[in-house]
Symmetry: D2
Subunit: 335 residues, 4 copies
């Protein structure tokens, strides 16, 4: 089974996450890219391939085994449903399948879930729940902020080292590609250049729901999330700066070892040696996360977690999930 | 007359050139800003003022003496016409009044001129034709590429130092604000960041018509213009890199002195001393042009001319024209 | 006394803070700039003036009334001492006079204070201690991180609204000019471009000592400072992102009004209306701070405080102090 | 012979070109990287490898078959000589072996050539002289400006389509990594950010000598080179904007086909289809050049040629030469 070939389609392939998905898949030894859709660029050549973009409605679902959905939320669930009807497996990069219940979806996205029967779908963060992803038919690949935040906080939550009633503070910064390819006032070069700005503050960003849901699964005592995203004047890269308080019985000097042990066998998570600090350059254009640990006092620890928002924060992770789904080596096409 | 107060309106005041016009006018001691229009931001506060944007149709033309038009071409001529009907003077920053005949306008803008009776309008490049601007009712302020190019080539053309049948080569580079504030694919941060790209090549850019028209006025023997604009990954600033061949009887070593003499009394044109090279930092956020001269051989000279595309290349120059129109000191609010 | 003229010298005038000091002073109606020193650029013209840089040892202290010191720490105290011997007033932009005791200086700068007799010097943050600055002979102008952080936390500390034993978390981001003009590996364009990186983490940055000293003066119960600075790929601008917990009896919804009241009469601090978020563009190239307030829960508040690190974070504030020192209107040359 | 393994050392491996050389070689299936030298970073881990930087004097020349020299000029020739004494083959990325005579070297580098007996060395631009590179012991890999310029002008020169006595005008723009990794005032982030600046103008840049030498070899009637390099505020990428005049008998409409034919079988040169324009994004982080052709009039043609200055302009091309030297497929590790 290891070396079976898989016929793949990519929806939303001209968006930033879709482009990276196609680029990565073009290097996957067992993938045949059958189609790539784009509402805007249909007819144009798809970089890294010998196909051309087609309209989503023209996509031949009967000719593929699996699809990647790099689509807007709402649209994505509908396409997932259609794919399922054709017996096609789905890796969804949108938010549509990430929340476990229609109620949560309604709360964070302000409209009813288009296909509640698709929920819950396995959440595709392999370092946290790899076993739930092997061989499945459908995976919800997490967003860039959740991936980077959850990897940064996971060891402490899992081992229950944090004070229960304290919020987890995450000051996050994302490159502009995270805002998508459609031109908008806030992604105009002149507006972003030389600027740095918060947005979606006050627990209003939709990723808060997704992150808290997953934190609760790791540890039901997890504190509230205080989350402040910012727009960084770079094209790629995301940093989650995490501030937490340790429960009595643990000291910040022990955290480095805990992280090193937790991620010792993870090929796509790099815990930096003590004294080194994670920066965007550690991860941009790679499929890895990098994490550094800084004790501030005995009880207060600061964690810096970084990813390329389009790679480990989107397309790279989606391919990692795909590899688990089909039983390939998990890092195929990713290292 | 020198110190009369003038009531002013700015159309298109939320665009990049319009914003700079408002900022400069807010420091003008004789100007009362009465209104500022914006189709998109009506109701919002106008920076540097105590007024709010209004819709263009709500602009009280009866309450102003003069208007600045920072509008798209086509729309601008119509507003100029309306202003004229109210006896309001016009400084037009669009292309609508820059070409001298409806035929040229049709050729470069591919539609009939909305109000051919407005042509010709005095061309507002004070260093070339200051006397034609004093006290007039209507001025066409030149574009950023024409301003920077014409200032860079003017002394050689006027003195007839160039070989007649040789083209004038201009390799030009503009910051992104030159493309306007409306979000478009080519001004998306991610597309521009880390990139540098030509556009409007092959004598296709509309400014070619305007530049050649003005070059012909300076010297009917002026060569053809070979003009290649590029998009530069900065917010502001424009460079015209000019390559020309001198006619026999002149050598490149004499060009420095020619430029220094020509612009000796120009407060807004800075000819750099021999050996210094003009860069964007010389002019960004100022209302000046800077020019440097480089002999390559006896006959071949290279000139670097720079402006802030929103200042001397647009709003600053428009205010300079306004000052001439009303008899104020030409540099009022500009130094 | 109000309109007396003051003869001024600027040491370290070719560094970034020094350049901005000269630029601001060139617009000050009561200042005569007598000299500007530069070890590296002696002989070159000083922008915005008609003088040339001179070597620091050549500076005619006998010809000035006051000096601004934009010098490295260590050197600055020695120059301050020399100036004092000439009866010249001092506004020091370095760290040398900011800490109140030689012991604290030794702790944070790892060498003995060169002139402990100069300590304590009044700390030049006018919004906190304006009265201590009027008419004095010597002022220690605060650093960029302390200014931005202290303005952002001051109302809550002064009113004692915070839980006493909780740390104050500050995730800070600074433009590259904060690292000085001397070329170093970490300020090389290629290293910074496309990157974002923490540094001086773990309460190791020298500004921690300065900030905690001043927080203690505002409120002796102030919590520990957890401070993480980052290098932002822009030239100017600084953001302090502050996370605090309110004491029982206060709710986050009340904080907006508290800040508006506290800074109601401050011309150089702009508390943004509820719902607006402070960004670098609010302050770059201005002498103001801007602050926005975000409630996260009833008890947890997030404050975003921004300045131009070279203006309100350095040279602008130094001139504000100078104005108080000499009894000019506090905002002269700053608005 | 095709699959023999080669033991390789890289000198100057911590500079920007050296880093890219190591990265590319780490993916070469037949290369064993034995050592990488760095005067500054000796002891640090070398990215993409499992070795550490060593001092150049500690490099075990007896343990390698070939060395890449990414060293400053002057030093490089001495290291080449030493390598030769050990029977080690040399790919030199410096300027030391590019000029064919000691006289030319003296003229452009202002000091005698350290080892004139090494001249001439085959010039490593495979698309122009592939046959001269197969199996040789020593190759001088061209600089970034010469590579990009020569590829852009080669077809016209070789076919003798240009007017003989007209200069070839090249307005060139390079990303900052071209200036090297050593911190200098002109590569400080704050100096470059938001700026664009010419340098080395007036036929003074050292690459003029190298480009003219090679143009003469292609066509002894080649015109003079007028060359103006500029510093572009990006990390990587180089554009040569070339302006030429065709001789009678040829028209600009024919140039597209000439280039397509000339480079039809070149895997690392991409002639863009008519109407597309070459930009930095076509080539950054690839080992290819891209070229676009724009007719301006019948006689005047504009060519845009782009490379990644560290790849096809340095390290990528060096590996391409290495592949020819050892008989590997020319694009091994490069596509």
């Amino acid at each position: 089974m290891q070396q079976q070939r898989v016929r793949v389609g990519v929806y939303g392939a001209s968006g930033y996450a879709g482009q990276d998905a196609v680029e990565i898949l073009s290097q996957h030894p067992c993938v045949d890219l059958v189609f790539a859709t784009s509402g805007t660029y249909a007819g144009d050549a798809v970089p890294f391939t010998n196909v051309r973009y087609i309209k989503p409605d023209d996509a031949p679902l009967e000719s593929v085994d699996a699809v990647f959905l790099a689509l807007p939320h709402g649209v994505s669930a509908q396409t997932a449903k259609k794919a399922e009807a054709h017996g096609v497996r789905v890796i969804d990069l949108s938010a549509d399948l990430r929340l476990d219940t229609p109620e949560l979806y309604q709360k964070w996205y302000n409209h009813p879930h288009p296909h509640p029967e698709l929920l819950p779908t396995p959440y595709g963060l392999p370092e946290l729940n790899r076993d739930a992803l092997r061989g499945v038919e459908r995976i919800a690949a997490p967003g860039c902020y959740p991936t980077t935040t959850l990897l940064g906080i996971y060891p402490l939550l899992r081992e229950n080292w944090l004070v229960n009633d304290r919020p987890i503070i995450v000051d996050a910064k994302s490159g502009v590609s995270g805002a998508g390819r459609e031109p908008k006032p806030n992604t105009h070069f002149v507006e972003v250049y030389g600027n740095f700005s918060p947005y979606g503050v006050g627990r209003a960003h939709r990723h808060v729901g997704e992150i808290e849901q997953e934190m609760q699964k790791i540890n039901p005592n997890a504190g509230l999330l205080i989350f402040t995203p910012h727009l960084l004047p770079v094209d790629r890269g995301l940093m989650a700066s995490i501030y937490v308080e340790l429960a009595p019985g643990h000291t910040s000097a022990e955290v480095q070892a805990l992280y090193e042990q937790t991620y010792a066998n993870e090929p796509l998570v790099n815990v930096l040696p003590k004294g080194q600090l994670a920066t965007l350059k550690h991860v941009v254009k790679t499929n890895k996360a990098a994490i550094s640990i800084t004790p501030n006092t005995d009880r207060y620890v600061h964690i810096t977690s970084v990813t390329d928002n389009l790679r480990k924060g989107a397309a790279g992770q989606a391919v990692q999930c795909f590899n688990l789904m089909y039983g390939y080596d998990e890092t195929t096409a990713l290292l």
